[in-house]
Amino acid sequence: MSEGTIKKFMYVNRKAPYGTIYALESLEVVLIAAAFDQDVSLVFMDDGVYQLRKGHQTKGIEVKNFQPTYRALEDYDITRLYVEREALQARGLTADDLCVPVEVLERAEIGRLMEQQDVVFSF
């Protein structure tokens, strides 16, 4: 049973927000995961880095702005947020453009971290 087991869970976000629901529903998984006392990390790769791009204003598309939830992750003790350096560069972004503090990693380094996980959920 799950009692006492601690596994490494990685949540990989590779999709842009709003065009599809994956970013939002991924975040809902992460918030629930926080209650399970597992070893949780989040990765933002490829278009997933756009989820953290500051300044979402969703009034014009009449969709809920869920960006504040990323800032609440810290309250859930989810502090390991990794962002792919190459993805930021390709999009003309830097860590200063993001809405939360993150650790920027080379893609290869993310590949290494991925190898160490017990469970990888990718959205």
Partner: protein, 99 residues
Amino acid sequence: MLHIVNKSPFQSTTLDSCLATARPDGSILLIEDAVYAATRGSAAAARLEQALGKFKIYVLTPDLEARGIAGSVIDGVRLVDYAGFVDLVAEHKGCQSWL
């Protein structure tokens, strides 16, 4: 004719398909995740800047704002809201959505 593209240029080859097919003087409207193609300083910017010499390129403002990139639009790209989107469809004889 009006071409509508809704995919990120970093994830999908759809915008490239559209650009390679549309006739000179055609119009291209970027909506949903395709609005990222209209931002300055990205790896897709050069492609779009080149396309501006051949097509009229429009981008949907509410989709830019939702994604926090309304301040990063490439010069020469025209901004439209939903009313402007409707006008574009009405002004062009036909439209093609590159899904």
